[in-house]
Protein backbone atom coordinates (compact mmCIF):
# COMPACT_ATOMS: atom_id res chain seq x y z
CA UNK A 1 0.00 0.00 0.00
CA UNK A 2 1.34 3.42 -0.88
CA UNK A 3 1.51 6.00 1.86
CA UNK A 4 -0.92 8.81 1.14
CA UNK A 5 0.08 12.44 1.57
CA UNK A 6 -2.04 12.45 4.72
CA UNK A 7 0.58 10.42 6.54
CA UNK A 8 3.46 12.74 5.64
CA UNK A 9 1.60 15.87 6.68
CA UNK A 10 0.60 14.07 9.87
CA UNK A 11 4.22 13.54 10.80
CA UNK A 12 4.90 17.21 10.10
CA UNK A 13 2.22 17.90 12.65
CA UNK A 14 4.22 16.32 15.41
CA UNK A 15 7.82 17.47 15.24
CA UNK A 16 10.09 17.24 18.23
CA UNK A 17 8.46 18.04 21.51
CA UNK A 18 8.50 21.70 22.37
CA UNK A 19 8.19 23.40 25.71
CA UNK A 20 4.74 24.82 25.05
CA UNK A 21 3.20 21.52 23.90
CA UNK A 22 0.23 20.74 26.14
CA UNK A 23 -0.83 17.64 24.20
CA UNK A 24 1.42 15.40 22.13
CA UNK A 25 -0.04 12.38 20.35
CA UNK A 26 2.29 10.03 18.46
CA UNK A 27 1.23 7.11 16.26
CA UNK A 28 -1.97 6.57 18.22
CA UNK A 29 -3.71 3.36 17.17
CA UNK A 30 -7.23 2.55 18.33
CA UNK A 31 -9.18 -0.50 17.33
CA UNK A 32 -12.83 -1.02 18.17
CA UNK A 33 -13.74 -4.66 17.63
CA UNK A 34 -12.56 -5.57 14.12
CA UNK A 35 -12.52 -1.97 12.96
CA UNK A 36 -9.38 0.15 13.14
CA UNK A 37 -10.72 3.57 14.11
CA UNK A 38 -7.37 5.36 14.31
CA UNK A 39 -4.57 3.67 12.31
CA UNK A 40 -1.75 5.88 13.63
CA UNK A 41 -2.50 9.50 14.42
CA UNK A 42 -0.03 12.16 15.51
CA UNK A 43 -0.98 15.68 16.58
CA UNK A 44 0.22 18.33 18.98
CA UNK A 45 -1.67 21.09 20.75
CA UNK A 46 0.17 24.13 22.09
CA UNK A 47 -0.64 25.72 25.44
CA UNK A 48 -2.48 29.03 25.19
CA UNK A 49 -4.15 28.24 21.88
CA UNK A 50 -7.46 27.04 20.55
CA UNK A 51 -6.89 24.09 18.25
CA UNK A 52 -9.79 23.06 16.07
CA UNK A 53 -10.28 19.39 15.23
CA UNK A 54 -12.20 19.42 11.99
CA UNK A 55 -13.79 16.56 10.15
CA UNK A 56 -17.04 14.82 9.24
CA UNK A 57 -18.87 12.82 11.89
CA UNK A 58 -17.52 9.31 12.26
CA UNK A 59 -13.98 10.28 11.26
CA UNK A 60 -12.53 9.46 14.69
CA UNK A 61 -12.54 12.92 16.33
CA UNK A 62 -14.30 11.73 19.48
CA UNK A 63 -12.08 8.65 19.77
CA UNK A 64 -8.96 10.82 19.53
CA UNK A 65 -10.34 13.15 22.20
CA UNK A 66 -11.25 10.24 24.47
CA UNK A 67 -7.70 8.94 24.15
CA UNK A 68 -6.32 12.35 25.14
CA UNK A 69 -8.56 12.46 28.20
CA UNK A 70 -7.53 8.91 29.06
CA UNK A 71 -10.90 7.16 28.93
CA UNK A 72 -10.27 5.27 25.68
CA UNK A 73 -8.65 1.85 25.52
CA UNK A 74 -5.81 2.29 23.04
CA UNK A 75 -3.89 -0.32 21.09
CA UNK A 76 -0.64 1.52 20.65
CA UNK A 77 1.18 4.80 20.34
CA UNK A 78 1.89 7.51 22.83
CA UNK A 79 -0.45 10.17 24.26
CA UNK A 80 1.21 12.77 26.49
CA UNK A 81 -0.71 15.52 28.25
CA UNK A 82 1.16 18.17 30.25
CA UNK A 83 4.28 15.97 30.05
CA UNK A 84 2.45 13.04 31.67
CA UNK A 85 0.94 9.94 30.07
CA UNK A 86 -2.78 10.52 29.34
CA UNK A 87 -5.08 9.22 32.05
CA UNK A 88 -2.54 9.63 34.88
CA UNK A 89 -4.39 10.28 38.19
CA UNK A 90 -2.46 13.56 38.50
CA UNK A 91 -4.15 14.83 35.34
CA UNK A 92 -7.73 14.26 36.47
CA UNK A 93 -7.96 17.75 37.96
CA UNK A 94 -5.89 19.44 35.25
CA UNK A 95 -7.78 18.17 32.20
CA UNK A 96 -11.39 19.16 31.54
CA UNK A 97 -13.51 17.12 29.16
CA UNK A 98 -16.94 17.79 27.70
CA UNK A 99 -18.59 15.03 25.69
CA UNK A 100 -21.15 15.51 22.92
CA UNK A 101 -23.91 14.32 25.23
CA UNK A 102 -24.25 16.78 28.13
CA UNK A 103 -22.91 14.78 31.11
CA UNK A 104 -24.98 16.34 33.87
CA UNK A 105 -27.86 15.06 36.02
CA UNK A 106 -31.16 16.04 34.39
CA UNK A 107 -33.10 15.87 37.68
CA UNK A 108 -30.82 18.36 39.45
CA UNK A 109 -30.59 22.11 38.92
CA UNK A 110 -27.60 23.73 37.23
CA UNK A 111 -26.35 24.96 40.63
CA UNK A 112 -26.82 21.54 42.26
CA UNK A 113 -24.94 19.79 39.45
CA UNK A 114 -22.04 22.19 39.79
CA UNK A 115 -22.20 21.94 43.57
CA UNK A 116 -21.85 18.16 43.43
CA UNK A 117 -18.95 18.12 40.98
CA UNK A 118 -17.26 20.95 42.91
CA UNK A 119 -17.30 18.74 46.02
CA UNK A 120 -15.87 15.82 44.01
CA UNK A 121 -13.11 18.06 42.60
CA UNK A 122 -12.67 19.73 46.01
CA UNK A 123 -12.71 23.28 44.63
CA UNK A 124 -14.04 26.33 46.57
CA UNK A 125 -17.69 27.26 45.98
CA UNK A 126 -16.61 30.57 44.41
CA UNK A 127 -15.64 28.46 41.39
CA UNK A 128 -19.29 27.43 40.96
CA UNK A 129 -20.42 31.02 40.41
CA UNK A 130 -17.42 31.78 38.20
CA UNK A 131 -18.09 28.73 36.00
CA UNK A 132 -21.79 29.51 35.67
CA UNK A 133 -20.90 33.07 34.66
CA UNK A 134 -18.34 31.88 32.12
CA UNK A 135 -21.04 29.98 30.22
CA UNK A 136 -23.74 32.63 30.77
CA UNK A 137 -26.20 30.51 32.75
CA UNK A 138 -26.68 32.89 35.71
CA UNK A 139 -30.40 33.11 34.96
CA UNK A 140 -30.81 29.32 34.89
CA UNK A 141 -28.86 28.50 38.05
CA UNK A 142 -31.89 27.18 39.96
CA UNK A 143 -33.54 25.56 36.96
CA UNK A 144 -33.60 21.76 36.61
CA UNK A 145 -31.34 20.62 33.77
CA UNK A 146 -34.15 18.56 32.21
CA UNK A 147 -36.12 21.78 31.64
CA UNK A 148 -33.22 23.51 29.83
CA UNK A 149 -32.86 23.76 26.07
CA UNK A 150 -30.26 21.60 24.33
CA UNK A 151 -27.80 24.46 24.07
CA UNK A 152 -28.20 25.38 27.73
CA UNK A 153 -27.60 21.78 28.72
CA UNK A 154 -24.32 21.69 26.79
CA UNK A 155 -23.28 24.90 28.48
CA UNK A 156 -24.12 23.43 31.91
CA UNK A 157 -21.89 20.48 31.00
CA UNK A 158 -19.15 22.89 29.89
CA UNK A 159 -19.44 24.77 33.20
CA UNK A 160 -18.65 21.52 35.08
CA UNK A 161 -15.47 21.14 33.03
CA UNK A 162 -14.42 24.71 33.93
CA UNK A 163 -14.74 24.13 37.70
CA UNK A 164 -11.19 22.99 38.33
CA UNK A 165 -9.66 25.66 36.04
CA UNK A 166 -8.04 22.94 33.92
CA UNK A 167 -4.87 23.64 31.93
CA UNK A 168 -6.18 21.47 29.12
CA UNK A 169 -9.79 21.57 27.91
CA UNK A 170 -11.07 18.96 25.48
CA UNK A 171 -14.44 19.92 24.03
CA UNK A 172 -16.35 17.61 21.73
CA UNK A 173 -18.64 19.68 19.48
CA UNK A 174 -19.51 22.23 22.19
CA UNK A 175 -21.40 24.62 19.93
CA UNK A 176 -23.88 22.25 18.24
CA UNK A 177 -27.37 23.69 18.16
CA UNK A 178 -26.41 27.05 19.67
CA UNK A 179 -27.77 30.29 18.29
CA UNK A 180 -25.11 32.35 16.46
CA UNK A 181 -24.85 35.01 19.17
CA UNK A 182 -24.23 32.41 21.88
CA UNK A 183 -21.78 30.65 19.62
CA UNK A 184 -19.84 33.88 19.25
CA UNK A 185 -19.95 34.36 23.03
CA UNK A 186 -18.66 30.87 23.65
CA UNK A 187 -15.80 31.31 21.18
CA UNK A 188 -14.88 34.52 22.98
CA UNK A 189 -14.80 32.49 26.23
CA UNK A 190 -12.53 29.92 24.57
CA UNK A 191 -10.10 32.63 23.48
CA UNK A 192 -10.17 34.24 26.93
CA UNK A 193 -9.24 30.88 28.44
CA UNK A 194 -6.49 30.41 25.85
CA UNK A 195 -5.17 33.90 26.64
CA UNK A 196 -4.88 32.71 30.24
CA UNK A 197 -2.63 29.83 29.12
CA UNK A 198 -5.18 27.03 28.71
CA UNK A 199 -4.78 24.64 25.80
CA UNK A 200 -8.13 24.00 24.12
CA UNK A 201 -8.88 21.22 21.68
CA UNK A 202 -12.30 21.83 20.16
CA UNK A 203 -13.91 19.48 17.67
CA UNK A 204 -16.44 20.68 15.15
CA UNK A 205 -17.84 19.74 11.80
CA UNK A 206 -18.88 23.32 11.11
CA UNK A 207 -16.31 24.69 8.69
CA UNK A 208 -16.97 28.36 9.46
CA UNK A 209 -15.84 27.78 13.06
CA UNK A 210 -12.45 26.77 11.72
CA UNK A 211 -11.52 30.38 11.05
CA UNK A 212 -11.86 31.14 14.74
CA UNK A 213 -9.11 28.66 15.68
CA UNK A 214 -5.41 29.42 16.17
CA UNK A 215 -4.45 25.98 14.84
CA UNK A 216 -6.37 23.45 12.80
CA UNK A 217 -6.21 19.71 12.46
CA UNK A 218 -8.17 18.34 9.51
CA UNK A 219 -9.27 14.76 9.94
CA UNK A 220 -10.91 12.23 7.64
CA UNK A 221 -11.49 8.48 7.99
CA UNK A 222 -9.22 8.18 11.01
CA UNK A 223 -6.27 9.99 9.43
CA UNK A 224 -4.93 13.51 9.73
CA UNK A 225 -5.35 15.16 6.34
CA UNK A 226 -3.42 18.29 7.22
CA UNK A 227 -2.66 20.60 10.11
CA UNK A 228 -1.41 24.13 10.67
CA UNK A 229 -2.73 27.64 11.15
CA UNK A 230 -5.76 28.60 9.02
CA UNK A 231 -3.75 30.96 6.76
CA UNK A 232 -1.03 28.32 6.28
CA UNK A 233 -3.59 25.70 5.29
CA UNK A 234 -5.29 28.07 2.85
CA UNK A 235 -1.96 28.89 1.27
CA UNK A 236 -0.91 25.24 1.05
CA UNK A 237 -4.15 24.28 -0.67
CA UNK A 238 -4.35 27.43 -2.77
CA UNK A 239 -7.89 27.87 -1.48
CA UNK A 240 -9.94 30.80 -0.22
CA UNK A 241 -12.06 28.97 2.36
CA UNK A 242 -11.28 26.21 4.85
CA UNK A 243 -13.95 24.05 3.24
CA UNK A 244 -12.20 24.31 -0.14
CA UNK A 245 -8.86 23.66 1.53
CA UNK A 246 -10.27 20.55 3.22
CA UNK A 247 -11.51 19.16 -0.08
CA UNK A 248 -8.28 20.01 -1.91
CA UNK A 249 -6.04 18.51 0.79
CA UNK A 250 -8.22 15.44 1.26
CA UNK A 251 -8.09 14.40 -2.40
CA UNK A 252 -4.48 15.40 -3.27
CA UNK A 253 -2.40 12.21 -3.35
Amino acid sequence: MTQPAAASSASEAAPDREADDAIVVRDLRVRRGQKVVLPGVSIRVRAGTVTGLLGPSGCGKSTLMRAIVGVQIVEGGEVTVLVLPAGTPDLRRRVGYVTQIPSVYPDLSVGENLGYFARILDVPSARITASIQAVGLEGQRDQLVETLSGGERSRASLAVALLSEPQVLVLDEPTVGLDPLLRADLWRTFHDLAAGGTALLVSTHVMDEAERCDDLVLMREGRIVASGTPPALLEKAGATTIEEAFVALAVTP
Binding site: R32, V71, Y97, V104
Partner: protein, 245 residues
Protein backbone atom coordinates in the same frame (compact mmCIF):
# COMPACT_ATOMS: atom_id res chain seq x y z
CA UNK B 1 -10.93 6.62 50.59
CA UNK B 2 -12.55 10.00 50.97
CA UNK B 3 -15.52 10.77 53.18
CA UNK B 4 -16.04 13.98 51.17
CA UNK B 5 -16.76 12.13 47.93
CA UNK B 6 -18.93 9.45 49.57
CA UNK B 7 -21.03 11.98 51.51
CA UNK B 8 -21.40 14.32 48.53
CA UNK B 9 -22.54 11.38 46.40
CA UNK B 10 -25.01 10.15 49.03
CA UNK B 11 -26.44 13.68 49.38
CA UNK B 12 -26.74 14.00 45.60
CA UNK B 13 -28.60 10.68 45.25
CA UNK B 14 -30.97 11.50 48.12
CA UNK B 15 -31.67 14.90 46.57
CA UNK B 16 -32.52 13.26 43.24
CA UNK B 17 -34.82 10.80 45.01
CA UNK B 18 -36.52 13.53 47.05
CA UNK B 19 -37.44 15.30 43.80
CA UNK B 20 -39.22 12.16 42.63
CA UNK B 21 -42.30 12.25 44.86
CA UNK B 22 -44.05 9.36 43.19
CA UNK B 23 -41.11 6.98 43.59
CA UNK B 24 -40.69 8.03 47.19
CA UNK B 25 -44.37 7.39 47.89
CA UNK B 26 -44.14 3.96 46.26
CA UNK B 27 -41.05 3.12 48.32
CA UNK B 28 -42.85 3.89 51.56
CA UNK B 29 -46.39 2.73 50.79
CA UNK B 30 -45.97 -0.46 48.75
CA UNK B 31 -44.35 -2.72 51.41
CA UNK B 32 -47.00 -2.15 54.13
CA UNK B 33 -49.79 -2.51 51.56
CA UNK B 34 -48.34 -5.80 50.30
CA UNK B 35 -48.06 -7.08 53.88
CA UNK B 36 -51.70 -6.16 54.52
CA UNK B 37 -52.66 -7.96 51.33
CA UNK B 38 -50.73 -11.03 52.43
CA UNK B 39 -52.49 -11.07 55.78
CA UNK B 40 -55.81 -11.11 53.96
CA UNK B 41 -54.67 -13.81 51.49
CA UNK B 42 -53.49 -16.09 54.33
CA UNK B 43 -56.67 -15.61 56.37
CA UNK B 44 -57.71 -19.26 55.89
CA UNK B 45 -54.31 -20.61 56.99
CA UNK B 46 -53.72 -19.83 60.66
CA UNK B 47 -50.07 -19.24 61.52
CA UNK B 48 -48.83 -18.76 57.92
CA UNK B 49 -48.82 -14.96 57.89
CA UNK B 50 -47.41 -14.91 61.43
CA UNK B 51 -44.51 -17.08 60.26
CA UNK B 52 -43.62 -15.33 56.98
CA UNK B 53 -44.67 -11.76 57.79
CA UNK B 54 -42.08 -10.62 60.36
CA UNK B 55 -38.97 -11.58 58.37
CA UNK B 56 -40.51 -10.11 55.21
CA UNK B 57 -40.49 -6.66 56.86
CA UNK B 58 -36.71 -6.67 56.51
CA UNK B 59 -36.62 -8.25 53.04
CA UNK B 60 -38.42 -5.56 51.01
CA UNK B 61 -35.42 -3.19 50.80
CA UNK B 62 -33.34 -5.93 49.16
CA UNK B 63 -35.67 -6.15 46.14
CA UNK B 64 -36.22 -2.43 45.92
CA UNK B 65 -32.59 -1.34 46.16
CA UNK B 66 -31.57 -4.01 43.65
CA UNK B 67 -33.96 -2.48 41.12
CA UNK B 68 -33.21 1.14 41.95
CA UNK B 69 -29.44 0.67 41.84
CA UNK B 70 -29.35 -1.28 38.62
CA UNK B 71 -31.39 1.41 36.87
CA UNK B 72 -29.65 4.38 38.53
CA UNK B 73 -26.22 2.97 37.59
CA UNK B 74 -27.35 2.26 34.05
CA UNK B 75 -28.49 5.88 33.79
CA UNK B 76 -25.11 7.11 35.05
CA UNK B 77 -23.52 5.01 32.33
CA UNK B 78 -25.81 6.15 29.52
CA UNK B 79 -26.02 9.87 30.34
CA UNK B 80 -22.24 10.15 30.53
CA UNK B 81 -22.04 11.19 34.18
CA UNK B 82 -20.25 7.96 35.11
CA UNK B 83 -17.57 8.61 32.49
CA UNK B 84 -17.28 12.19 33.74
CA UNK B 85 -16.88 11.00 37.35
CA UNK B 86 -14.31 8.42 36.21
CA UNK B 87 -12.28 11.21 34.59
CA UNK B 88 -12.25 13.11 37.90
CA UNK B 89 -10.09 12.56 40.98
CA UNK B 90 -12.26 10.10 42.88
CA UNK B 91 -11.82 6.52 44.05
CA UNK B 92 -14.42 4.09 42.72
CA UNK B 93 -15.03 2.74 46.21
CA UNK B 94 -16.08 6.22 47.41
CA UNK B 95 -18.70 6.42 44.70
CA UNK B 96 -20.03 3.00 45.73
CA UNK B 97 -19.95 3.99 49.40
CA UNK B 98 -22.03 7.04 48.51
CA UNK B 99 -24.61 4.81 46.84
CA UNK B 100 -24.57 2.44 49.82
CA UNK B 101 -25.03 5.27 52.35
CA UNK B 102 -27.92 6.82 50.43
CA UNK B 103 -29.78 3.55 49.97
CA UNK B 104 -29.16 2.40 53.54
CA UNK B 105 -30.79 5.66 54.68
CA UNK B 106 -33.79 5.07 52.41
CA UNK B 107 -33.99 1.47 53.63
CA UNK B 108 -34.01 2.66 57.25
CA UNK B 109 -36.98 4.88 56.47
CA UNK B 110 -38.77 2.18 54.49
CA UNK B 111 -38.20 -0.52 57.12
CA UNK B 112 -39.28 1.81 59.95
CA UNK B 113 -42.58 2.60 58.22
CA UNK B 114 -43.14 -1.06 57.27
CA UNK B 115 -42.25 -2.28 60.77
CA UNK B 116 -44.52 0.31 62.39
CA UNK B 117 -47.48 -0.87 60.31
CA UNK B 118 -46.62 -4.58 60.60
CA UNK B 119 -46.08 -4.69 64.34
CA UNK B 120 -49.03 -2.49 65.27
CA UNK B 121 -51.88 -2.37 62.72
CA UNK B 122 -51.30 -5.82 61.22
CA UNK B 123 -50.74 -7.45 64.62
CA UNK B 124 -47.47 -9.17 63.78
CA UNK B 125 -45.07 -9.97 66.61
CA UNK B 126 -41.32 -10.06 66.83
CA UNK B 127 -39.39 -11.69 69.65
CA UNK B 128 -36.27 -9.63 69.00
CA UNK B 129 -36.02 -5.84 69.02
CA UNK B 130 -37.61 -3.89 66.18
CA UNK B 131 -34.45 -1.82 65.73
CA UNK B 132 -32.61 -5.04 64.97
CA UNK B 133 -35.14 -5.78 62.20
CA UNK B 134 -34.57 -2.25 60.83
CA UNK B 135 -30.79 -2.72 61.03
CA UNK B 136 -31.01 -6.00 59.10
CA UNK B 137 -33.26 -4.26 56.55
CA UNK B 138 -30.49 -1.67 56.04
CA UNK B 139 -27.92 -4.44 55.55
CA UNK B 140 -30.27 -6.07 53.04
CA UNK B 141 -30.59 -2.76 51.19
CA UNK B 142 -26.82 -2.57 50.84
CA UNK B 143 -26.75 -6.22 49.70
CA UNK B 144 -29.46 -5.47 47.12
CA UNK B 145 -27.56 -2.37 46.02
CA UNK B 146 -24.29 -4.29 45.62
CA UNK B 147 -25.99 -7.03 43.58
CA UNK B 148 -27.84 -4.44 41.47
CA UNK B 149 -24.61 -2.59 40.77
CA UNK B 150 -22.98 -5.81 39.64
CA UNK B 151 -25.74 -6.79 37.21
CA UNK B 152 -26.12 -3.24 35.85
CA UNK B 153 -22.79 -3.78 34.08
CA UNK B 154 -24.42 -6.55 32.04
CA UNK B 155 -27.57 -4.63 31.10
CA UNK B 156 -27.57 -2.55 27.94
CA UNK B 157 -30.99 -1.01 28.51
CA UNK B 158 -33.35 -0.27 31.38
CA UNK B 159 -35.62 -2.96 29.96
CA UNK B 160 -32.88 -5.54 30.45
CA UNK B 161 -31.99 -4.17 33.88
CA UNK B 162 -35.54 -4.70 35.10
CA UNK B 163 -35.49 -8.30 33.82
CA UNK B 164 -32.55 -9.08 36.09
CA UNK B 165 -34.82 -8.80 39.13
CA UNK B 166 -36.88 -11.94 38.37
CA UNK B 167 -33.72 -13.61 37.05
CA UNK B 168 -31.37 -12.93 39.94
CA UNK B 169 -33.50 -12.14 42.99
CA UNK B 170 -36.69 -14.22 42.58
CA UNK B 171 -34.96 -17.65 42.55
CA UNK B 172 -33.07 -16.67 45.69
CA UNK B 173 -36.34 -15.76 47.41
CA UNK B 174 -37.90 -19.07 46.34
CA UNK B 175 -34.95 -21.03 47.75
CA UNK B 176 -34.41 -18.97 50.91
CA UNK B 177 -36.91 -20.95 53.00
CA UNK B 178 -39.63 -18.35 52.68
CA UNK B 179 -41.97 -20.48 50.53
CA UNK B 180 -41.04 -23.85 51.96
CA UNK B 181 -38.56 -24.81 54.69
CA UNK B 182 -35.16 -25.49 53.15
CA UNK B 183 -34.88 -28.84 54.93
CA UNK B 184 -37.95 -30.08 53.07
CA UNK B 185 -36.62 -29.11 49.64
CA UNK B 186 -35.03 -31.54 47.21
CA UNK B 187 -31.41 -32.07 48.28
CA UNK B 188 -29.81 -30.31 45.25
CA UNK B 189 -31.96 -27.22 45.91
CA UNK B 190 -31.03 -27.20 49.58
CA UNK B 191 -27.34 -27.37 48.67
CA UNK B 192 -27.79 -24.63 46.05
CA UNK B 193 -29.49 -22.38 48.59
CA UNK B 194 -26.43 -22.71 50.83
CA UNK B 195 -24.54 -20.64 48.25
CA UNK B 196 -27.12 -17.84 47.84
CA UNK B 197 -26.77 -14.70 49.98
CA UNK B 198 -30.53 -14.10 50.28
CA UNK B 199 -30.81 -17.39 52.20
CA UNK B 200 -28.68 -15.94 55.00
CA UNK B 201 -30.45 -12.57 54.90
CA UNK B 202 -33.77 -14.39 55.43
CA UNK B 203 -32.40 -16.72 58.12
CA UNK B 204 -31.01 -13.82 60.14
CA UNK B 205 -34.41 -12.11 60.06
CA UNK B 206 -36.17 -15.34 61.09
CA UNK B 207 -33.79 -15.68 64.04
CA UNK B 208 -34.33 -12.08 65.15
CA UNK B 209 -38.11 -12.14 64.83
CA UNK B 210 -38.77 -15.67 66.15
CA UNK B 211 -36.28 -15.95 69.04
CA UNK B 212 -34.73 -13.77 71.70
CA UNK B 213 -31.50 -15.73 71.76
CA UNK B 214 -29.10 -14.79 68.97
CA UNK B 215 -26.97 -17.91 68.77
CA UNK B 216 -23.83 -18.69 66.82
CA UNK B 217 -25.83 -19.37 63.66
CA UNK B 218 -27.08 -15.76 63.67
CA UNK B 219 -23.54 -14.37 63.73
CA UNK B 220 -22.58 -16.82 60.99
CA UNK B 221 -25.48 -15.45 58.89
CA UNK B 222 -24.27 -11.88 59.52
CA UNK B 223 -20.74 -12.87 58.51
CA UNK B 224 -21.99 -14.45 55.26
CA UNK B 225 -24.12 -11.37 54.42
CA UNK B 226 -21.17 -9.07 55.07
CA UNK B 227 -18.93 -11.25 52.90
CA UNK B 228 -21.54 -11.25 50.10
CA UNK B 229 -21.81 -7.43 50.27
CA UNK B 230 -18.03 -6.95 50.13
CA UNK B 231 -17.63 -9.49 47.32
CA UNK B 232 -20.38 -7.93 45.17
CA UNK B 233 -19.03 -4.43 45.82
CA UNK B 234 -15.53 -5.48 44.78
CA UNK B 235 -16.86 -7.22 41.66
CA UNK B 236 -19.11 -4.19 41.01
CA UNK B 237 -16.14 -1.83 41.37
CA UNK B 238 -14.30 -3.92 38.78
CA UNK B 239 -17.13 -3.23 36.31
CA UNK B 240 -16.60 0.55 36.71
CA UNK B 241 -13.91 1.18 34.14
CA UNK B 242 -11.91 4.34 33.73
CA UNK B 243 -11.06 3.33 30.18
CA UNK B 244 -13.62 1.83 27.82
CA UNK B 245 -13.52 0.63 24.22
Amino acid sequence: MSARVALATAARILRQLRRDHRSLALVLVVPPVLLALMRWVFQGQPGAFERVGPPLVGMFPLILMFLVTSIAMLRERTNGTLERLMSMPLAKIDLLLGYGLAFAAVAALQATVTAAVAFTVLGLETQGAIWLVVLLAMANAVLGMALGLLVSAFARSEFQAVQFMPAVIMPQFLLAGLMAPRSEMARPLEVLSDFLPVTYAYQALVTVTATTDLGASFWRDIAVITFAIVLSLVLGALTLRRRTA
